[in-house]
Symmetry: D2
Amino acid sequence: MAALFRGSRNVLLRWNKHVDFAFVSSRSMASKTPVGFVGLGNMGSPMAKNLLKNGYPVIATDVFPESCKELQDIGAQVVDSPAEVAEKADRILTMLPSSPNVIEVYTGPNGILKKVKKGTLLIDSSTIDPAVSREMAVAAEKMGAVFMDAPVSGGVGAASMAKLTFMVGGVKEEYNAAQELLTCMGANAVYCGQVGTGQAAKICNNMLLAIGMIGTAETMNLGIRLGLDPKLLAKILNMSSGRCWSSDTYNPVPGVMEGVPSANNYQGGFGTTLMAKDLGLAQNTATDTKTPIPLGSLAHQIFRVMCSRGYANKDFSSVFQFLREEEGQ
Amino acid sequence: MAALFRGSRNVLLRWNKHVDFAFVSSRSMASKTPVGFVGLGNMGSPMAKNLLKNGYPVIATDVFPESCKELQDIGAQVVDSPAEVAEKADRILTMLPSSPNVIEVYTGPNGILKKVKKGTLLIDSSTIDPAVSREMAVAAEKMGAVFMDAPVSGGVGAASMAKLTFMVGGVKEEYNAAQELLTCMGANAVYCGQVGTGQAAKICNNMLLAIGMIGTAETMNLGIRLGLDPKLLAKILNMSSGRCWSSDTYNPVPGVMEGVPSANNYQGGFGTTLMAKDLGLAQNTATDTKTPIPLGSLAHQIFRVMCSRGYANKDFSSVFQFLREEEGQ
Amino acid sequence: MAALFRGSRNVLLRWNKHVDFAFVSSRSMASKTPVGFVGLGNMGSPMAKNLLKNGYPVIATDVFPESCKELQDIGAQVVDSPAEVAEKADRILTMLPSSPNVIEVYTGPNGILKKVKKGTLLIDSSTIDPAVSREMAVAAEKMGAVFMDAPVSGGVGAASMAKLTFMVGGVKEEYNAAQELLTCMGANAVYCGQVGTGQAAKICNNMLLAIGMIGTAETMNLGIRLGLDPKLLAKILNMSSGRCWSSDTYNPVPGVMEGVPSANNYQGGFGTTLMAKDLGLAQNTATDTKTPIPLGSLAHQIFRVMCSRGYANKDFSSVFQFLREEEGQ
Amino acid sequence: MAALFRGSRNVLLRWNKHVDFAFVSSRSMASKTPVGFVGLGNMGSPMAKNLLKNGYPVIATDVFPESCKELQDIGAQVVDSPAEVAEKADRILTMLPSSPNVIEVYTGPNGILKKVKKGTLLIDSSTIDPAVSREMAVAAEKMGAVFMDAPVSGGVGAASMAKLTFMVGGVKEEYNAAQELLTCMGANAVYCGQVGTGQAAKICNNMLLAIGMIGTAETMNLGIRLGLDPKLLAKILNMSSGRCWSSDTYNPVPGVMEGVPSANNYQGGFGTTLMAKDLGLAQNTATDTKTPIPLGSLAHQIFRVMCSRGYANKDFSSVFQFLREEEGQ
């Protein structure tokens, strides 16, 4: 992924000073009791494995049996439904593709909340609408459980290497308990505030990232057409007020930097379709809160058009290629 | 100004290694011979003073007699027209508000090119359309003179303290000769390429700056409405992929940083009206070169609307205030 | 309102030829049996009165007792909850401000579906997300009832004079039964297709209306600044390919037309805040269906900004005033 | 072309009542004296032929000899330069691709104004920046000649059949004299005001046309995805406030209308590249006059991107195809 927090290994340390150590819940004491895990996809599967590696018994489930099989082979106990997970674990992580899946897994007929035990800690690492996170928290509270949102930054690679970053929203007293598990799966965790603020932080970052990337692509393209050498232009921008992550760390113009998707025909990285999804969430929250986001909206539309013009699976920095004149036209 | 190159005092040093020292023109040897200066406004006047301070005799002119008077009092020789300046100096700087002024001063009936001596070095520090810079260079070449564009980054304060940065376009062989004068007036100079690329670099930087600033304002506003603390959100963005100069150095949200216009009711800084002017230049060059700049275009329109809603003279970071809900609505 | 279907009194007639008369439900025979009505606001109240005027007994409810009182005084039976309405009527209309209200009124603890009788016809005239309409239809079907969406075009005036237009989505076989009631409250009804298409038609029309209005405002403003007389420009556009409803029927420039909000300081008409709401629905449906709407999105953002700059309650054609240079700037 | 004034054959008649007949210049009396013509391209050639057909001797020139040859064969006198045309004719028409060509033909070393006779009537039918029209008028006036701008609506077909529409700017007293010639080449002429307003009217119309077309394409696409039948949706829009020329006369969705480019794979009509050019002019005049045109700007960018994605030579209504999801994605 266009690594949010990339290269910031010490963040956890720095953030820890903000953490309130006064309250340490009994759950966080009860290390190594079983941890539930719902959603064993590309991201969830390596995350669950890291819990196993850290010595936690894992009770897992997924709608696809083959996903479960793989985890079962390395020691997880597989059960049939989120409700069953809730019967057997008092700390549960969920990692799902979108809001409707989260709603189903928590409040559906075989959902977690049907069988959840009082005092259970529920941590959702899906990237979804913060309003849904808040709804789930209210529903969990009615059952005496605690819900936190903890979306991640970092892709499949970071998930495998336990280098994810978690942005966490929820009751502050529970943050330590959550952190105990999250640090098995990630390098950093940031406490953002009340339920939903983890999602908010992720959505906000990715919106600004999208705007900066398109802006960088437009600017580099314009400069090149005006006769500037791309490397020189990037250098000038990066020592100036035009500087941004997309210009200095993830430049979208082939030949300017090495080790980034633009150096590799926009393979790998953070897909345009995923960026379009995140911008859709940003748009929804902005509409709900009556917040004007003119550039964010237009960025959303641009990535949406790109998805239908053959760029869906390329890295989102391919917007440079999209805006540049085609060969042979 | 939203200081392009702010805090990069050593840039000149770093850039010097790129400079070709093999050719040193006779002009650059002839230090301390008179230097012409046309355009003694808010920026031009302190620049001309810095030439005087460095021991250069200055032959100056301006359409406003009072501007000339002040410079005359401290030792400059004032003449009646750009043509007369050209008769008396073989190195001439111009600092004018916009393209039409530059055209008039160079090619008008009393313009520099009417009387320019062969071999004269002409340096224009106005911010104008690069196409006009190229036209002036062609016209100068016909008269045997050399024209370079060298727009500045940095405002009146930087001009007074000789801390401007120059982005220079023109024949490379003349760059050293230009640099000799520019370093009396600024801290940095960057050679950008052929004539017009100095303008191009400035325009590109400011376009990306504008996009980053509006993007930051939208994002901070959205995050705040979603329940995030503004300082925390800025911190998260700045250690993440949303990071940009507007988020980490010039944050537009009051209370997040000190010493920036947002901490001072958007006084000082870089006026919205100036940003709208630079975006107009970006738009013009993009239209001329058939380059799509969707976010740059929309940024231009937003600052244009702001100019008509009472923000013309506020710092351009006041876009945060513009987008945020009004009190009492 | 920016009357959708304004001046098209004969539409019903023309549309009728598309109607399938083969199936006439027993409900539509059972005229003058009680009709339920939930939501007695500015729009719902005159609509319910028109049902009474047409001889239908009305069983009504609303969260505000005073709204009920007025209707009770002219003959309606007032009950305590939507559930009670459902016990007493097998044809029910709902007219509510937004999606959450509709969800509550149909599926809440005292909602219609708690007590609905098999075969009941449910008609929702609220303007909401078509996805919510589809959800309500599914929920209704589970109870053996039929749900149709029938949002209106036309404002409070049209509601009072029974001149509304209804865009209707739902099972075609039930359209006649719905039409019997709708024609008591409106002049026109258009059958649009399956459930949700009534909402879709309304949202689509209003999105294009918003784009045309802003486009007209920009164009008129630009033409005036280029020296054209506004009336002459409107005349040229209206006989040319620039023609649209906003230029020829509802021109936003004061002095060009009479009898429109621009002739009356943008009082009356269709409020900016209502247009922003409808564009939010358009944005949501576009995001859900992954449809790019670049101009629709930007139009949404512009009306959203206007809401926060003092234009919330002015007619949406005041975008002309918003874009035009302020006096005294 | 997306025929501005299409189907309005009686416009001239209607407009004539606004014409001041009091002044009839001596030139307009002197019918059938030679008429000069500069620019014999796709549009200019049939226009010049129509002058010949109407009995006017034509003195013509063009930079391409082959263009001249064709006209010579049917009776025109061909000369070597615009200056020579000016020596031999006191009424001259010009039809050129863009602003720089107009500047060259009028003010270049062999330009019209080098040899123009006092009292000559100069009519420029090129579509260019109104500011250039005004410059040419000032330059002509210095030589005692009169310049009018008269850009056309209608394409090559309309030019051949003398069905163009002219939008005319310039001194009103000369309008009758201009009209005498214009009516040989077109069906309609509209007097718009001072010099440059003909251009302004054309640019304004085409900007609103572009906005309406993209808006219609977005709206139709959204409606279709929401389950509406395209013909039904078009019908609803066209009887409602969403109605515009692009929805009711030139609908961009294949299958909705016959006889329009969308019915013929977007062949013929008004090319995307020409629309992008006109929007570039709109953008330039808006920037020069500091007029915000948010939707016009974005429309410009969209057609600009389309030009680089293979749509340059398709009719501009192909924006529907551009925005719609690709097959096989």
